[in-house]
Symmetry: C2
Subunit: 219 residues, 2 copies
Amino acid sequence: MSEVKLFGAWFSPFVRRVEMALNLKGVEYEYIEEDLKNKSPLFLEYNPITKLVPVLVHNGKPIFESSVIFEYIDETWEGPSILPKDPYERAMSRFWAKFVQDKCSEPLWKACWSAGEEREKAKKEVEEALKLLENEIEGKKFFGGDKIGVVDYVGTFIAFWIPILQDVVGFHILTKDKFPNIWKWGDELCNDSFVKKNLPEKEKVSFALKRAFETGNLY
Amino acid sequence: MSEVKLFGAWFSPFVRRVEMALNLKGVEYEYIEEDLKNKSPLFLEYNPITKLVPVLVHNGKPIFESSVIFEYIDETWEGPSILPKDPYERAMSRFWAKFVQDKCSEPLWKACWSAGEEREKAKKEVEEALKLLENEIEGKKFFGGDKIGVVDYVGTFIAFWIPILQDVVGFHILTKDKFPNIWKWGDELCNDSFVKKNLPEKEKVSFALKRAFETGNLY
């Protein structure tokens, strides 16, 4: 029998999306919560390169980077597919997943944690990207169409984590007024029973982010 | 018959690597040189999102982002495979391709074009990444083993373009002394007959970068 371990941190959007992929496929796995302040020797042995969670270990072999893990899970286990089967649709999904991660999630996160000129610059850039995303999701239930797909799983970062963080730091870029389609999609996504089951508790995340905001230390 | 067009810019490492993938598969395509100072309406119609080259158009449908195009080419056309067939090896290739792009090529490029404190910060970060890469390529001919693979194609950025840019700006991070394994690999890669045929002329790239360095405008 194959052995699957996942090293994670409960609040990490990257870890949660990998858990969604594993659970979608019905893969049994051992979850190991890693203390990011004090990483275990076993964890560092598996991932001496990025030293970041998530790390998926399959039959003793480690894989890192959530986007890479996603593709691996989809290729390795049977069950509902995470990426579309059609090569063109796969390409579009890969593009939008990368766009949501690199152009929306990370700059939003950065803008929330920064201040002054740096924050304004990040805000301007991310607003441009969000406009494109707003346009892309118009008239669709999910990025995957009627079914939740890879872009939606990656998108939980902006659908769930970012609104909490915005409230904590008191700085709002992704607002309902400016981006109604993204908010509608985000609400639908976070209320989907499967997604909801795989998200952390909102209050716990809010508490952790508040403490991080006050102490300047996320872990 | 399928119709394939590639919108590119002759000096772009991202475009050249897509051409390598198409040529490796033996795909016939029409190459359209795009004036990046004055982008054509057709180009902007195909890629209103990132507005960047390369854009691959297959049977009228556009695909952008070189990493996404790579996967599409590998899935769509027969011929030598670009990514390994084994899912674990595929995952590792995807990881290292992303690492070379995000942690080595882009910060090296940025460090060369910046100055002062910003440059020093970028230098420190990229040196850490290069040490990991130096270690990874030790004892191997290519990242793909004996055969050139996706990490190597992506790596042409640091094997070919970065050494030219370093000389132009007079600032060297990726040196033969500090990173002998990377240099050895880079020499081998750029002298491979297939890769060489798909690279631009060194003198032309050097001239274009010199002009860009003097005028502060790459295009």
